[in-house]
Structures are given as structure tokens and as C-alpha cells.
Symmetry: C2
């Protein structure tokens, strides 16, 4: 288990010379290298990120609008590539993207130590896969990343207990209340899976009111590190789920049209935050301590 270090990074451009930042960048580089190697080895096609599109992840919480105009089109900055991942399965069976996301979180998120206005997630999707396929795939990736980081930073090699233990949101809410994540994360000593979250329309509903999705929770209070699910792909199901979430259907016309034409497929996937993984592996108090040009929500000014 990684211990959380309460170290404050010095401010200003001088912080780029901080040895602890350089150490975190080395870990980040290993994470990116091993992740890339792993997914190619598993037959995944690496795609390029999409940064601007008329459609993006609606998310299940409010953020500040981040859109730009070009001619008649309003492009929104990518909040996640979920919708594009589903469409991309028309061209390749297994895909992954090193995908920067922009989510202009409100100031209240500054205190979490886990939110930045821009961050990068490794986003992947697998046609025909089910939840356990993705969970086992990620456990294998995680083991290879950890092993490489331990070797190359001269840390002791530790055994990882996989598969990770699995919980449901229902049991965790009973035990910890609605805001179960922080207390649960502090209570565990290894990463754990939590199943069945009620959230965005695209995560497949199994039994009514239950969802075929999964989050990975890091121990030690580091919280959520991966989020994924099986996907809704049928036109009628998507419409029903969007309406239930009170979404503006007109804004997703091209996506809905693709679903109507039968171009979406059963799939499962996930995305894990690179900075969150690096923060956890380095045991740093705040996510900006592992980021070169961090943008913490609610600052009065940003310089880089």
C-alpha cells in the first residue's frame, strides 16, 4: 500500500525544477510506455485523440462550458471520448487512445486533490467484451505497470493480489452512506472494484435499476482511478436512457442517427486517469504535485 505524503510543491515556474516532480514524470513516462506496449500486445489499435466535436460525454455532474465556434458549428472540448469510442468500433475491434480531456470543474473541486481542468485518460473499448473481460484486462495491465515502475525506480517488488476484491455500490452505501468513496478508499489496502453505479446514459442497464459498470478504487484515500462499463448500443435503449437523464436529444443527433442505423455494437471498456495513477504510485497528496502544467479548479490566474 502506498502512503500518502503530505508534501507541498513549491509554486511558480521554479517548481519545474523540483526533483520530486522529475521523479513523478519518470513514473508517468513508464506508465505511458508500458500501457502502450501492453495494449498493442493485446491487439488493440491505437487511435488519435479527438479534442473538438459537436458531441461529447454529457458527464453526470455540472462543469463550466468549454466550447468554441467555427462557422456554423459549436465544438465542445472533449470531456471523454466515450461516444467516439463506440463509433470507432465500426473500424477496429479493440481500440485505445491516450486521450486528453478538458472538464472545467467548479472551484469546489479544488479541495479534492484529484481534479484538474485538463487531464489525460487512457481510454479503451473492446467490441463484444463483457465487464469481467475489461476487469481482468486492466488487472494484467496494472501488474505490468507496477512491476516496471518498481524495477526502474529501485523499489521492492511486491506481489499484487489479483483479481482485486469486488464490491457493489449498494453494499458500500449501506456501510458508508451515499458518499461512500473517500471512507471506503481509506479502509482498503489494495485496489478494489466497485460495481453497479447509476450514472451516464451509455453505461448498460442490466436488471432494471442496476448497471453493468465498474470503477476501480485505489486504497489509502486516493479514490477512483478507473471508470468503465458495458455499453448501451441499441437505438431504443439509448433514446430511453437519454430521456430518463433529461438530456437534450438534439445535441446528440449524429450519435443517435448512427445508433438508429445500427452502427453501434455491444462493447465494454474503461478509462483510467494517467495523473491519478501516477499520483497514487508516487503517494503524493495532491494531483498537481505530479503534473507539469497543472490547472487546479478555481485558481485566480493560470500562467502556463
Amino acid at each position: 500500500m502506498v502512503e500518502l505524503q503530505q508534501i507541498e510543491m513549491i509554486g511558480g515556474v521554479e517548481r519545474l525544477q523540483d526533483k520530486r516532480l522529475a521523479d513523478a514524470l519518470q513514473v508517468q513516462s513508464i506508465v505511458l510506455r508500458e500501457t502502450t506496449r501492453f495494449f498493442h500486445g493485446q491487439g488493440f489499435t491505437q487511435l488519435l485523440p479527438v479534442m473538438i466535436s459537436p458531441i461529447t460525454d454529457p458527464l453526470c455532474h455540472s462543469v463550466v462550458d468549454a466550447s468554441i465556434r467555427y462557422g456554423e458549428t459549436t465544438f465542445t472540448l472533449t470531456k471523454s471520448m466515450i461516444l467516439h469510442k463506440q463509433l470507432a468500433l465500426m473500424a477496429a475491434e479493440k481500440i485505445f487512445i491516450i486521450s486528453p480531456n478538458v472538464r472545467l470543474e467548479h472551484e469546489e473541486k479544488a479541495s479534492t486533490g484529484r481534479h484538474l481542468l485538463e487531464f489525460t485518460q487512457v481510454d479503451f473499448e473492446w467490441k463484444g467484451a463483457k465487464a469481467p473481460d475489461i476487469m481482468r484486462l486492466f488487472e494484467n495491465l496494472y501488474q505490468e505497470v507496477i512491476l516496471a515502475v518498481q524495477k526502474e525506480t529501485n523499489k521492492p517488488i511486491t506481489a499484487l493480489p489479483v483479481p482485486f476484491k469486488t464490491y457493489t455500490t449498494e453494499e458500500l452505501m449501506k456501510h458508508y452512506g451515499v458518499d461512500w468513496e473517500p471512507a471506503f478508499s481509506r479502509s482498503i489496502s489494495e485496489p478494489a472494484w466497485v460495481l453497479d453505479h447509476e450514472r451516464e446514459f451509455y453505461d448498460k442497464e442490466g436488471e432494471p435499476g442496476h448497471y453493468l459498470n465498474y470503477d476501480l478504487i485505489y486504497p489509502g484515500g486516493f479514490g477512483e482511478g478507473l471508470s468503465g462499463g458495458e455499453r448501451e448500443h441499441e437505438h431504443t435503449r439509448i433514446l430511453m436512457r437519454m430521456e430518463r437523464n433529461k438530456m437534450d436529444l438534439r445535441a446528440y443527433a449524429s450519435y443517435i442517427d448512427a445508433a438508429r442505423k445500427g452502427f453501434l455494437y455491444p462493447s465494454a471498456g474503461a478509462g483510467f486517469g494517467v495523473e491519478r495513477m501516477v499520483r497514487y504510485l508516487c503517494g503524493r497528496a495532491r494531483i498537481e504535485d505530479v503534473s507539469l502544467f497543472p490547472k487546479v479548479p478555481g485558481q485566480s490566474a493560470y500562467h502556463f
Copy 2:
């Protein structure tokens, strides 16, 4: 030499099922895999992209504004990571980034077959390096990429004549006129280096009026595929070059301040467009034919 194929891609979401697009994605995935492997093997640290910042590449041509407001800050979408690359050398000696760029080009660029509103470049920078270091480094990378693509797409293995031939803009302008690039690109049968371009402030000036920068030009009319240079890093030189280019110095205050504090270093680097390399390797007429979700300048509507 790759032959340019005049094939029109079918339109709409159906195009994602086009076999030729899937083939291009396979080549793209090999390019990304081999590039990542190569740079790590050469001791480069892989960084995450920056998408929003108060500062970005000023470019040397006009594009539509792409900025968003958050509190008191105006963030511009990254046009290239050049300024962040220079700053990042405070933390690591050799760096590379798979870096999406947004450049809202005017409609006139639609006809080139080489411009998209968003694209990805592999951007790299090396502290203390000189122009020839970067040119030889890229030639080695290019050879490894080509070899992997030829092997994995069952094409004949061809020998590459490296180092590539080198020209100067001065001699090419004499021969082809100011707009030398298209005719020169059609005239060569292998990629070639072209030195000494007058452009953005950050490319180092050697002899007055001459610049220590370099572009790689693909043969067959595919045009520019990489752009790079040694960098200005001294505060007074940067101020002088910015003023000469009539830039708004206030917009670059944080960058100028870092230079004033001596935090910029001598370096050289480059960026090569991933889609342009894939288009060249696949011999496709237009860049959107190798892109999953292409945004060609000046379209009336964008759907994905």
C-alpha cells in the same frame, strides 16, 4: 516512392466501415507504437499533452480564434506545444509528447488535402541538441517506422537512402519561386530536408536573416511532414524576435518571465504530423481519408 491514389472516401458515418480507412488506422497504430518505442529507447521522457493554456504557439499564419473563458483566464487551445516543450526541459533533458493541436484554419486550406482543424503531432525536444542531432534522430525513427509498416502490411522491404538530401529555402526559391514547396515535393523521389526558414520567433537565428531550422518534405506532392529547429532561449533575443514579429508581448508574459529568470535552455526539436505521415505512407489523396473523425476546414457542418 509512394504513389498518390485519387480515391474518394464515401461520406457520412458509413465511411467508418470503409476497408481503406481500417487499413490506414492499422498503419497509424504501427506509427504510434514504433514512435513510442523508439523515443523511450532513446531515453526520452514521454509527457502528457497540454490542451488549454494562456500561452501557445503564435504560428506564422492566421487562424480563427479558439479560446475559452474560465473565471478571469482566457485559455487558448494548443496550436503546438513549442513553448511548453522549452519550459519542460527544466524537468527532463529529452521529452516527447503525442500532442493533439487545434488550428481553426480558414476555408482556403480545404483544398490542400493536408489540413485538418484538429490533428496530432509527435512533438519532441532535446536539451543541448543541434540541428543535425534532430535530423539524424528523425531519420533513424523514420527507418524503423517504415520497416515495421512494410513488414506488417506485407509490402516489399525497401532500402531508405539516409541521410536524406538537404536543400536550403534560398536555393529552392531561386528554382521554384516563393511558393517552392508543392513543385519541389513533386520533383523529389525520397524525403528531403529543407533548411533556413524565416518564421516564428522561437526558431534560432544564426547569421542575421538565416535560421537554424529544418523541415522534412515528403516526395510525390505530399509536402511538409516535419518542422523543427534550434531554439532561441535568451531573454533579450526572445524579446527582440517577438518585437520583430510584431507580437503582443503581454500575451506571453509568463513565458518571457521564465526566459528572464534564465529557465530556458539551448535546445532543438521538431514535430511531425501523424496524419500527414500516415497519408504519405498510405499514398492517399487527402488527409481526411486516413482520419476517423476528420474536420476539414470550411465545411458547412461537422457531425463528429
